[in-house]
């Protein structure tokens, strides 16, 4: 029984998926309000259940494992899907395929959980695939829109490409090590040519998933073409989970190649931060803007990753939590704007503070967090990443990170200027308040304002990263 409980997160998600099937049999999803209400409650229960004490250990000869850190990461992601569900309420209400949305989202999160708990590379690969394919279907959700189909197709193709590359790396690794369980890879890893080749391909595969420059080319188009809820999921859950796994891959699996990957990571980090920021400057579409912003954010994450220490992983996990809250809040406001004005352009945010002060305040907190401005949590998140980067003495990387802090501030301040300083082009009508969105935005905002002043959280993450 104890062993079965190691799968508690996955079991709960499986039960939710089954519940969806039952609902579809009974046509419950046509009772829109009741269905969405039920789903939100179920996701809330799922999130709360995640905090119950949890068994840790491994099962299936080490194929599947659970640690306190993995449990915490899954909890963060559970919070993420709950918040995304709440922010997407209005859109789901109008969509015909709300049941499918939940079905795909939960399937994807199931893949994410498998990926996080994997103790064997095949299991990891399975998880990556399981989490990606449903998202490709989700991006194609607005069936009548050409750009949505294009987004779906782009995601399928690029993920197939990245999977291929990763799989090739895995097979080379198998050739080099002779076994794919994490333990034996760690034990038998030598920095020879074959292993470095294998690592390079696996790294490239993950870089695709995290949209690290130069593997980012799909990102902006897919973000723009997908419905906002899906973009939100992609930018937060999908990316966040891969970052979590990436930590394990680098620090544990390929810990022996640290000397090699440190420079690769530094170069990728510099490229992502700089190119993400420079391209974000030119964007007028809010979703494309956030796409490039997320590319630059992942560059900052890599600075922390390059710290290669407990401080590094602590800062990364801490930052991902903050990033999740910031992005969900930003996308929440963008979706409210899109519902009201029908526009996703940044220009349409002009004068938002005068017409809709609350939404503007939510947005400004999210943007300041992304920019790393105190007292909002993003400030701490970013600086801890930089501090941990100091650990590896990569001074050039830190220099670039410092310069990029300024570039990114320009990007986010541009939107703040639109909302607070500029006059509206057309007066934005007061947005319809929907309770679910407001709850999600309030939760994100309180989180962002409070996290920097709840040091226990960082301490807890540091503790579970040490274990």
């Amino acid at each position: 029984m104890d062993n079965v409980l190691l799968f508690r997160f996955e079991i709960v998600i499986a039960v939710l998926i089954l519940a969806l099937l039952v609902m579809s049999l009974r046509d419950f999803n046509t009772k829109v309000t009741a269905f969405l209400g039920t789903m939100n409650i179920l996701l809330l229960v799922n999130f709360l259940a995640g905090w119950l004490p949890m068994a840790t250990g491994s099962y299936f000869s080490g194929f599947f494992r659970t640690t306190d850190l993995i449990v915490f990461e899954k909890n963060i992601l559970n919070l993420g899907i709950l918040l995304i569900s709440l922010t997407s309420y209005q859109w789901l209400k109008q969509s015909e395929h709300r049941l499918e949305f939940y079905f795909l989202m939960l399937s994807s999160i199931m893949g994410v959980f498998v990926m996080l708990s994997s103790g064997h590379i095949l299991m990891l690969y399975l998880g990556v695939e399981m989490s990606t394919i449903p998202i490709a279907a989700m991006s194609n959700f607005n069936l009548n829109e050409k750009r949505s189909s294009e987004a779906g197709l782009k995601l399928i193709l690029s993920s197939a490409f990245s999977t291929g590359i990763m799989l090739f790396g895995i097979s080379l690794l198998y050739g080099a090590v002779g076994n794919l369980s994490f333990d034996s890879v760690i034990a038998n890893l030598h920095p020879d040519m074959l292993t470095i080749f294998a690592f390079t391909f696996i790294l490239a595969g993950f870089a695709f998933k995290m949209s690290i420059v130069p593997f980012h080319l799909w990102t902006a188009d897919v973000y723009e073409g997908s419905p906002i809820a899906v973009t939100n999921f992609l930018s937060v859950i999908s990316k966040g989970s891969v970052v979590f796994v990436f930590l394990t891959i680098l620090y544990h699996l390929f810990g022996g190649l640290k000397e090699e990957w440190l420079y690769a990571i530094s170069i990728l980090s510099i490229l992502s931060m700089t190119i993400g920021n420079l391209f974000a400057m030119r964007q007028q579409n809010a979703k494309r803007f956030l796409a490039f912003s997320s590319i630059s954010q992942v560059g900052f994450v890599l600075v922390g990753v390059a710290g290669a220490s407990v401080m590094g992983s602590t800062s990364v996990v801490y930052f991902i939590l903050i990033y999740l809250l910031s992005n969900i809040a930003a996308f929440g406001v963008i979706s409210a704007m899109a519902d009201t004005t029908g526009s996703e352009s940044l220009q349409s945010f002009k004068g938002l503070y005068k017409s809709n002060p609350f939404y503007a305040l939510f947005m400004v907190v999210a943007l300041f967090s992304l920019a790393g401005v105190p007292p909002v949590a993003g400030f701490f998140g970013k600086l801890f990443l930089l501090t941990s980067g100091m650990n590896s003495k990569l001074y050039v990387l830190l220099g670039f990170a410092g310069a990029n802090l300024v570039l990114s501030l320009y990007n986010y301040l541009r939107v703040v200027k639109y909302m607070f300083i500029d006059e509206a082009i057309e007066t934005i009508p007061p947005m319809k308040r929907n309770r679910q969105l407001t709850i999600a935005l309030v939760v994100c905002t309180i989180g962002l304002l409070a996290i920097g002043f709840i040091p226990e959280l960082y301490q807890y993450i540091s503790q579970i990263c040490t274990m």
Binding site: M311, T314, F368, V373, P374, P375, F379, F380, L383, F384, L386, T387, M390, N391, L398, G399, G402, A403, L405, V406, L409, Y410, L413, V416, K417, F420, I421, D422, P455, Y458, Q459, S462
Partner: protein
Amino acid sequence: MDIVQLLIILPIVTLLGMIVAKKELHIKSVALAGSSLQLILAIILTTLYVQMRQAGAIAPYLFQSSYVWFAPLKIYFTSGIDGISLVMILMTALVVLSGVLVSWKINKQVKEFFFLLILLSLSAYGFFMTTNLFAMFFFLELAVIPKFLLIGMWGSGRKEYSSMKLALMLMAGSALVFLGMIGLFYESGMQSWDIQDIARLNIPIATQRVLYLLLFTGFGVFTAMFPFHTWAPDGHSSAPTAASMFLAGISMKLGGYGCLRVATYLLPGAAQELSWIFIILASIAIIYGAFATMMQKDLKYMNAYSSVSHVGFIILGIAMLTKVAITGAVMQMVSHGIMTALFFAAIGMIYDRAHTRQANELGGMLKQIPFIGAAFIVSGLTSLGLPGFSGFVSEMTIFVGSWEHAGIFYRVATILAAASIVVTAVYILRAVGFAIWGSITNKEFLKLKDATWSERTATVLLVLGILLIGLAPFLFVRLIDMDTTTIYQKLISGVLVH
């Protein structure tokens, strides 16, 4: 809780009070009450501090306390004050209260305006009272965005350009500061961000050089040090009056304080080797600022450029590394803070009434609005360093301290700096002549009304501050003497650390 922490708690309570308040008058009253209490608290703190020192307290910082913030990263909110931070806190409290009073007429988005003003004061108090580098950085950055919004939302002229330029340049400065600070943290074996702990380290001279340049330049951007001063004229001229008072009065001092307390004090070896760079930059700033001021017709631009020149004295005093010059630099920080606040307040009052800031379009202000005209004259005379006012003692102390260096390089720098006083006298007297003396040039000005009660109170407070330093400088010297001595001794001993 220690009494020093009230300096943080009071602004927070004021902010909360303003959020709750609904009517404009209530919001303003909360801001006024909050900032008055801040000044009272700062005065009480000074009295207690003096008493404790007289009773024989020799700890470098008094009223020390420490709260754990991020334990795994060794970040603590450590607070404590010495004479230098105390005078900065006093100056902040004075400028904040006068800023609130001068802004009494604001009627556009009142709540937001006063909220941002008080938030700025919070950041300044936090910066001056903490000894933990990370906390210091937190407060330094906290001040950037309110400035951006204050200029962008309530400013005039090229406000969008100015606010963005200011935010980006200050952020770039703070990025340098942060890199320098992580370097110091790393040098402590990633064990402490605390100034007192880091001061005990023997940092290798090669590392010191890099960190010193990073930190001095980073803080220098905040001080509007040449050639990173360009945000200041634009920012000051576009900002609403109270924000200009804050920007020039307080914010620029955050940089000066950082240059002294962090860059110079913690990296004495590098300071001895490299401070000549900043002496050159300061000398250029002093002369360039003074000549650039002469060219200005807009009173606000004039004061902004003259600030560049005056803060050059601060940098010069710090970079000269003698005890007297450092004491002068601290006094100049306080003096310039109050003087420039008064200057901006007077210009703001004139602009509110005459709707122009062009010196040649004004005239006869003393006849029509004598109180405001007098305030302008007092600030002008302080600026040109007339004996009896604060500018004289602080600048003179810097010159005396600088002259202690016998080398030709230092002598030339000192002479150049001293020569700027002549240029200052020219532009100040010319501005006073154009705008304040003479007969009224525009008939519209005959309708102007003199200062309101709030403006009068603010002016009186600031003038008292100027006179206090000008007539009884020994009070300030006594307060800061022990700490400038400590810094000087560290600088002397620092040379041996190689």
